[in-house]
């Protein structure tokens, strides 16, 4: 089946200029030549493995990039990543909630397997992280940033440097957030968190070492509360919000019904603009990392990946926040830049990839064997632009969470064309959407002739996923 190209994706195609494509082709040609001449720089070469920098932000909507056609948001560094790398326009999280998704990224497993099923469930120290496996392959490893799983910080095996925070149960704060630096709680007065974490990340990258490094840099930004650094506070003050759904124009929309507990968006418009300012602040920090890699002369042999834990509803279907199994909450940005190893950079891949694919991908790139415990699969063939049948559908799961958010337990199946959602232990009825015609999920097909036509294919598929989860348990 042909992959779906949404309007946004078409805009992205248009945003990638001819110059970018030629530039990308140049990189590809250079990489191709180098892979022949210098095996050390090829994918998972034996002599010199690639460095890895994975940057994970929090709640960054997949369409909030300049390169994705957003009317005014400024993300020049992330746009550059996309222009020089591969942007995945159909990337998704398997649970649209911070802690479960973060645990999925680092473990390559679904929430039902790693056990962090909601923001109240603790990380199991027995879980194996991709950092641990990379350490076994000779990598110098660092985790810097938001861990955000309840309880004390874990003893992360195989991590050489671990800098995180437990402030506000791991949620942290954008300013003055105390950090736990290799086990020592340290005050960080006057610091802006994203910048502070990037400072540590740069120090980690700069450390002279013959080993390749893997840096896992996890930001809190642009997560609520939307407090950008002062210089960006009013960056978008006068910008229109015509591109947002109707609900977002009602300034108190984040304070009605269930949203009053989840959104807490006093004056939606003002908060939304600050959310965008926070995204720009993340972009600036990404730029600092890129600049440093270039200054050190390692940018070409460093795989830089940017993603986020889940999508964000900004008035979509009248909701604010995430959790729901709707398209805007499921979709995440996923960009890979690796000049020495990518084929045809500057392109978009429309294959469906997931947060659980990160860990197996990093292992494959490092030349390590795949772990049978991981649920995801390596996207390396896609990065090499190979024509492969990658994924036809995936299972979305959402477990019981604290009631204010009133999102029921959910199981959903997302195919290339449809999204079918069932709510467990709830009186809410199942929902079905045709993503190609209705990317905003406004027209439920349940009970319609069209819905009746496709439902017999989707319901058994969802049941299969449920059965597989039960068997795994």
């Amino acid at each position: 089946m042909k992959p779906v190209a949404t309007k946004k994706e078409k805009q992205l195609h248009a945003a990638l200029s001819r110059r970018d494509v030629l530039k990308g082709a140049g990189y590809a040609a250079a990489a191709g030549m180098m892979s022949g001449l210098l095996p050390g720089l090829s994918f998972a070469g034996k002599e010199k493995k690639p460095n890895i920098v994975f940057i994970l932000s929090d709640d960054h909507r997949w369409d909030h990039f300049g390169v994705m056609g957003h009317p005014w948001i400024q993300t020049p560094n992330l746009d550059r990543l996309a222009n020089e790398g591969v942007m995945f326009s159909n990337a998704f999280c398997t649970t649209a909630l911070c802690s479960p998704s973060r645990a999925s990224f680092i473990s390559g497993q679904y929430a039902h397997k790693h056990g962090v099923i909601n923001n109240l469930a603790q990380w199991d120290e027995q879980n194996v992280t991709v950092l641990e496996l990379l350490k076994q392959r000779g990598y110098r490893t660092g985790f810097i940033g938001k861990w955000h799983m309840p309880g004390p910080l874990p003893e992360l095996r195989g991590v050489d440097q671990f800098i995180s925070f437990t402030h506000k149960t791991g949620q942290g704060s954008h300013f003055d957030c105390p950090l736990v630096i290799d086990g020592v709680e340290t005050e960080r007065k006057g610091k802006y968190l994203a910048e502070d974490l990037t400072d540590f990340a740069l120090d980690f990258i700069r450390k002279e070492n013959d080993d390749p490094f893997c840096l896992y840099l996890a930001h809190k930004a642009p997560h609520y509360p939307f407090n950008p650094p002062p210089e960006l506070e009013d960056l978008y003050k006068d910008k229109p919000i015509d591109h947002l759904p109707k609900s977002a124009h009602h300034r108190f929309a984040g304070m009605v019904n269930g949203e009053v507990y989840g959104g807490v968006l006093w004056n939606v418009e003002a908060k939304y603009k600050k959310y965008c300012s926070l995204i720009t602040s993340v972009d600036q920090q990404v730029g600092r990392v890129m600049d440093e890699l270039e200054r050190l002369g390692v940018a070409d042999n460093t795989i830089v990946i940017y993603s986020t834990d889940n999508g964000y509803l900004m008035g979509d279907k009248g909701h604010f926040d995430k959790r729901w199994a709707h398209e805007r909450a499921l979709r995440i940005p996923f960009i890979v830049r690796y000049p020495a190893g990518l084929k045809n950079p500057g392109r978009i891949s429309e294959e469906m990839i997931l947060n659980v694919d990160l860990a197996p991908t990093l292992l494959a790139m490092a030349g390590a064997p795949a772990s049978s415990e991981m649920d995801g699969k390596s996207i390396k063939p896609l990065l090499l632009n190979k024509t492969v049948a990658f994924r036809e559908s995936f299972h979305y799961e959402f477990f019981k969470d604290f009631p204010p958010y009133t999102v029921p337990e959910t199981d959903a199946v997302r195919t290339r064309r449809h999204l079918y959602i069932e709510f467990n232990n709830s009186r809410r009825k199942a929902e079905l959407y045709d993503i190609t015609k209705d990317p905003e999920n406004l027209h439920d097909l349940m009970g319609t002739p069209e819905g009746q036509k496709v439902l017999p294919g989707l319901k058994p598929l969802l049941d299969d996923y449920r059965r597989a989860r039960k068997n795994a348990a």
Partner: protein
């Protein structure tokens, strides 16, 4: 001298309780209905304007109607119990609506726990306690100006205003409400997960 602030000449139950409290409840219900229909308006600007206005009226009707109906009930001779009932009718209606809303996805026990212990509901309940104390003081002040006898400020209303302020502070203002939110969340985890 004992304060003679017990209320005015007693009118019928209908006039002293059912009418003022009932009107407040009906206004709130009507505003809810109106608000829910607004989403069908095509014009974004018109929708946003009406929704903003209605939201403000909804907040006033559910959170502050006590300031109006409590003195009315008092002037019509309602007893303290009746005044309490009348003042809490609309806020309790809101709580009931919350139980129904949460119960769609959670058990009745969880929905009730949520409604009783989360910040917005508690602020509403304790807010009423303060507003009742304030209304009592207002009524006495008006009464005294009209020649009534006795003290305006006594322990009861003063304590209720104080309790209300302190509670609202700890629920919503201290640490931005985060500590309280976290406490309730942990309690929920212990009880239901």
């Amino acid at each position: 001298m004992q304060p003679d602030m017990s209320g005015d000449k007693r009118k019928s139950l209908n006039k002293r309780l059912i009418l003022p409290a009932g009107i407040a409840l009906i206004v709130w219900l009507a505003l809810n209905f109106f608000y829910d229909q607004l989403i069908h308006i095509e014009s974004v600007k018109l929708y946003a304007f009406l929704a903003d206005m209605t939201w403000v009226l909804l907040v006033i009707s559910v959170g502050f109607s006590t300031l109006i109906i409590y003195p009315i009930m008092y002037f019509r001779g309602a007893s303290f119990g009746e005044r309490l009932l009348g003042s809490f009718l609309t806020p309790l209606g809101w709580c009931f609506k919350e139980v129904l809303r949460v119960n769609v996805s959670f058990t009745l026990a969880e929905a009730t726990f949520f409604t009783l212990f989360t910040s917005v509901s508690l602020m509403l309940i304790f807010g009423q306690v303060g507003l009742i104390g304030l209304s009592e003081l207002l009524y006495r002040w008006v009464k005294k100006r009209k020649g009534g006898i006795g003290k305006i400020l006594t322990a009861g209303p003063a304590i209720s205003v104080l309790v209300s302020l302190v509670t609202v502070y700890f629920i919503a203002l201290y640490d931005g409400g985060y500590s309280f939110h976290l406490t309730v969340k942990m309690l929920y985890r212990a009880l239901f997960l």
